[in-house]
């Protein structure tokens, strides 16, 4: 395919995709994440149960199915339920405002059991007393409770193990504070799980004693009493012999209904049918209960009535009696049965939904919960969009000023890129989150960087004397390698981040990865097609149109010679940072340290921190850290309350107290992170950083050589440590977003380093007599402008993120700004220097160095000079094929590797007959040269099958 046809095809493709993108943008809605639209996010960690001893993928998938059914029953639109890591489940419930209720509905295990009551209730002596109303509760069975949880654990733990197939567990563990006589953690099915719970307790409760309740005994909470407030649970308990009569799996079709039968109360109830097996068992059990009641009846049938208990997750739901007068042979279950028990319509619906969806196969521990109000979500969205628009605008302005006509083309590509990406977000669909917007804004910089790399190369070629047409062709051809290397590294880092990072960061990684891929298409292929099409037009015909009219001032800075001072500067900065780490430490946010953060807009004017602290003391939160924050969108009096990790009901208590005392405008924003989640975030961050470094090293070792990978790693460590150290110095809080930003720094830092190393690699074979430091100096002087320009372009959108992005996006922006600056610095002054110092130890470069020093009075000139003292420009194509270079080692000639590189560079397919033994005469630069080495070889190469070179303009053989 000719270039012209190829360009036409690409432009056609771009136009087609653009039309498609516009159609998608106009027709499809944008799916916004919870942080942008408000809602509740819950993160659960799955733990094994007796029925499911191992938490595997299948168990998690089944749990997700059950949870999805429950969420659907809640009527939540566009819920997100997904696996996260090997044992976590993330539930996103948009527009839901009550985190506690959502948590109860979604994460409850919901194991339902039926017990024959009287024969199984255990007294304080550890034995059953079926006829003692003091133990069974008599007519108030189930509602009073016989003992406190502490006493219940003491009694139950002394009972022997009973191995029975009707048991519901194989042993449960409780942690007890003997001093205060209260149970502080449990029940858990293993000591290890209990220990995890204990570890999350305040320090003074961690010395709790562990009790085991062996199989055959179970402790259950007494029924909810009428005098208790809604959501307040009974603190009285029963100990039961764990002899289950029926299970939740024996019932079907549970529904919320009303007690409208004969003598009914009209109250909400839950009705259900039995399975065949359940029906049979139910009949037998109720018959036995009825007969027992009849046998104990002495005049008052109600006093002798026997009960059965319905237990859901170790809590009594209802303890109805069996009327042995009406049902002397038990209850016929063909019409199903019902549960009554002082339900409200909501609680009856809740129970019926739980029974309908079935029990979860695993136990779910809530390790993180957050609630974002719709107001804050809208504010975040507005800030994110503003930062994105500002980022795009300022990058466009920079491109137009610096690259003029090429800048117009690049800005067009940026706009096309933005439309494609927005359409992709709607089409896939990608749930757009705040971190995702940060990733999107960063990719604007990535897309612009690709253009800058090419445009700088184009300008360089034109300034070297090529025509505009040839400069454009050569610029794209030579720049593409560095761009692909840099973008592949960014994509790899984004992929690792996506696989290993926690859910919040995944959105960032996904948009960064997808955006980088799309930008490769628009920034390289699309702009190349435009440039190729307009290459012969007047618009692109003059060097001035491209900003390349003046010869660039030679940069003769001795990067290597001055490097020890830059190295020392880095050393001093790191020294200060290390001392800051020791003295101030890193301010790890609740993502790592666990805790609860509540942000509420107070309606009552002139409320101060002390008043809020006093109010919170009434709900046991006197130690809370309270600070006033500026959130104009939420209100004038916005306070942030930071506490230890609170359960959802404790959070509700705090927010209710604030509302009662001062009035809270709208829904407060809450976030609770458990220690397990914090550990997960920290662990995944460390794994992601190590994995990124390894993958990047392997890639660089393959693309360059392994010695190039080590300096890159050192430079990356330099950037990460400096960023972390500055965080310690300025006391900036480290969040999960900061970790994502740190990993992105890897990609950005590499971008610069790869550009520099790519040029070093290119120049090494072209400067066969120069020392390595001279090669690096030369390479640096050639790419320093490009390197600074790409860093500047990357920093511009980040700066916009910092200025307009709001608090959360500022987390990303600060780390990225420091990292981008440090990355540029380390690419120029750390990585290249380490590479130089290391390569100069190689025998070949040591000998070159000795020779150059001998020729120059004991010093190595900063730049390679010929006899006339001029800098030797690499011009491989000008050398005769028989005389390549003088070998550094007269005994060995040039190294095989060096020779191969020269051959590749010269496009010589067959090796020359012999290598030269004589120093080449340095040649003066040829500014008028208007042909690339490729062109020269193409024209003269007789091995080209005798074909005439193609007339590129017309795509036909000349």
């Amino acid at each position: 395919m000719t270039d012209r046809r190829r360009n036409f095809f690409i432009l056609l493709l771009v136009a087609g995709l653009l039309a498609g993108s516009l159609a998608v943008i106009l027709s499809k809605p944008t799916r916004l994440g919870l942080d942008l639209r408000g809602g509740v996010e819950l993160v659960y960690e799955a733990r094994p149960t007796q029925q499911q001893p191992v938490v595997d993928q299948e168990a998690l998938d089944r749990a997700i199915d059950v949870m999805r059914d429950r969420v659907d029953a809640l009527g939540v639109s566009e819920p997100e339920i997904q696996r996260s890591g090997s044992d976590q489940i993330l539930v996103g419930l948009p527009d839901v405002e009550n985190a506690e209720e959502a948590q109860q509905q979604v994460g409850q295990v919901a194991q339902l059991f039926f017990y024959d009551w009287e024969p199984n209730v255990i007294g304080e002596d550890g034995k059953t007393h079926p006829r003692d109303p003091e133990v069974t509760g008599g007519q108030s069975a189930g509602s009073l409770g016989t003992m406190s949880l502490y006493d219940a654990v003491q009694v139950a733990s002394k009972r022997p193990a009973v191995d029975d197939r009707n048991n519901t567990h194989e042993g449960l563990f409780y942690a007890v504070d003997e001093k205060d006589k209260e149970v502080v953690a449990g029940p858990e099915e293993t000591r290890e799980d209990l220990q995890k719970d204990v570890d999350e307790l305040p320090a003074d409760e961690r010395n709790a004693k562990v009790y085991e309740v062996k199989e055959g005994t179970v402790i259950i909470r007494a029924e909810q009493r009428d005098n208790l407030k809604e959501n307040q649970k009974s603190d009285r308990w029963y100990v039961l012999a764990d002899n289950v009569a029926l299970r939740g799996t024996d019932i079907k079709n549970p529904e919320q209904n009303y007690d409208n039968g004969p003598g009914g109360t009209g109250q909400p109830i839950v009705t259900f049918d039995f399975t065949d097996q359940g029906r049979k068992t139910w009949k037998e059990i109720t018959r036995e209960i009825a007969r027992r009641g009849a046998s104990q009846s002495f005049g008052n049938p109600q006093a002798a009535a026997q009960h059965f208990a319905i237990v859901l997750d170790n809590e009594l739901i209802s303890v109805p009696y069996i009327d042995f007068v009406q049902n002397p042979n038990g209850i016929d279950a063909s019409n199903g049965s019902q549960i009554t028990g002082g339900f409200t319509i909501e609680s009856a619906q809740e129970l019926s939904n739980l029974l309908k969806t079935g029990a979860l196969p695993v136990k779910l521990e809530l390790i993180s919960q957050s609630q974002v109000s719709a107001t804050l979500g809208q504010q975040s969205l507005d800030q994110g969009l503003l930062a994105g628009a500002a980022g795009l605008g300022i990058v466009a302005l920079f491109l137009l000023i610096f690259y003029r006509i090429l800048g117009v083309i690049a800005v067009t590509a940026l706009v096309v890129y933005s439309l494609y990406f927005y359409a992709l977000i709607k089409l896939i669909p990608i749930t757009l989150t705040l971190p995702g917007i940060a990733g999107l804004i960063l990719t604007i910089g990535v897309a612009a960087d690709a253009n800058i790399v090419i445009f700088e190369r184009v300008k360089e070629e034109i300034r070297a004397g090529r025509s505009v047409t040839q400069g454009l062709a050569a610029g794209y051809k030579k720049g593409i390698g560095a761009i692909i290397d840099a973008n592949v590294v960014t994509i790899m880092v984004a992929f690792i981040l996506f696989v290993l990072a926690t859910a919040g960061v995944k959105g960032f990684a996904f948009t960064l990865g997808v955006g980088t891929m799309v930008s490769l298409f628009t920034a390289v292929l699309f702009t190349q097609a435009i440039v190729g099409t307009l290459g012969h037009s007047k618009a692109l015909g003059r060097p001035s149109a491209l900003g390349a009219e003046k010869p660039r001032k030679e940069i003769a800075f001795d990067f290597m010679g001055r490097s020890k001072w830059f190295f020392s500067a880095s050393g001093v900065i790191l020294l200060v940072c290390a001392l800051a780490i020791g003295g101030k430490g890193l301010d790890l946010g609740i993502d790592f340290e666990s805790g609860t953060r509540i942000r509420a807009a107070i309606e009552k004017p002139n409320v101060n921190e002390d008043q809020i602290r006093d109010a919170l003391a009434t709900v046991g939160q006197s130690e809370a850290e309270i600070q006033r924050v500026q959130e104009p969108e939420l209100g004038r009096n916005v306070f942030q309350i930071s506490t230890e990790n609170l359960r959802p009901d404790q959070v509700t208590r705090v927010t209710n107290t604030l509302d009662q005392e001062f009035g809270v405008a709208g829904e407060p924003n809450t976030q609770s992170i458990g220690p397990t989640f914090g550990e997960t975030v920290a662990k995944s961050a460390i794994i992601a950083i190590i994995a990124s470094l390894l993958v990047v090293s392997v890639y660089l070792a393959l693309r360059f050589e392994w010695k190039y990978a080590v300096p890159v790693l050192i430079a990356l460590m330099h950037d990460l440590l400096i960023t972390a150290g500055i965080y310690a110095l300025i006391g900036q809080e480290v969040t999960a977003g900061t970790v994502a930003a740190l990993l992105t720094i890897l990609g950005f830092s590499l971008y610069d380093t790869i550009i520099v190393f790519d040029r070093i690699r290119e120049n090494v074979p072209r400067m066969p007599s120069a020392t390595f430091s001279q090669v690096v100096n030369r390479s640096m002087s050639e790419v320093i402008v490009r390197s600074l320009a790409t860093s500047f372009t990357a920093a511009l959108p980040v700066l916009m993120l910092f200025l307009f992005g709001g608090e959360t996006l500022q987390d990303f922006a600060i780390a990225l700004l420091i990292g981008t600056l440090s990355g540029t610095y380390s690419s120029v002054f750390i990585a290249s220097q380490v590479l130089t110092a290391w390569k100069e130890r190689e025998p070949i470069y040591r000998r070159r160095r000795q020779r150059v020093m001998a020729e120059n009075g004991g010093v190595v000139p900063a730049y390679a000079t010929g006899n006339a003292g001029k800098i030797v420009d690499p011009q491989p194509s000008r050398r005769s094929r028989g005389r390549l270079t003088a070998p550094d080692d007269p005994d060995r000639g040039v190294s095989r590797e060096e020779f191969d590189e020269m051959v590749r560079d010269l496009h010589v397919d067959q090796p020359p007959a012999r290598t030269a033994v004589q120093d080449p005469e340095p040649e003066a630069p040829r500014p008028g040269a208007d042909a690339s080495p490729d062109d020269l070889f193409m024209k003269d190469d007789k091995r080209n099958g005798g074909k005439k070179p193609r007339n590129k303009r017309h795509g036909r053989n000349r």
């Binding site: 050393g571 790191l574 430490g585 330099h718 160095r849 190595v860």
Partner: protein, 109 residues
Amino acid sequence: MALFGWIMMGIAIWHFTVFLPDRFWAGIVGAFVGSVIGAVLFALIVSGFSLPSQDDTTVLTVLYAVPGTLLGLGAVWLIGVRQENAEGGHEGGTPSTPGASSAFGRSAA
């Protein structure tokens, strides 16, 4: 956090090795490895082979890394010198000419 501080201190000191003649084993990269390993090992020994937590990390804790870094660098240096001597010259380092005074050599603009 202490580990983080130790590594940071080790790398900070390593930066100043550019003022020394490059006779380290494996050159500047060898010095890097020596300083980091030395910093962490020595500080670990001083801390009783336990990693101080964030709250327990002080300026003094971070300074534990200094002697370790110097010892690590010294060890790598000694190995380098011995290797050079064994190879009968400066096979592993930069030449002993007046122009080669540090890891980056000396150049003239």
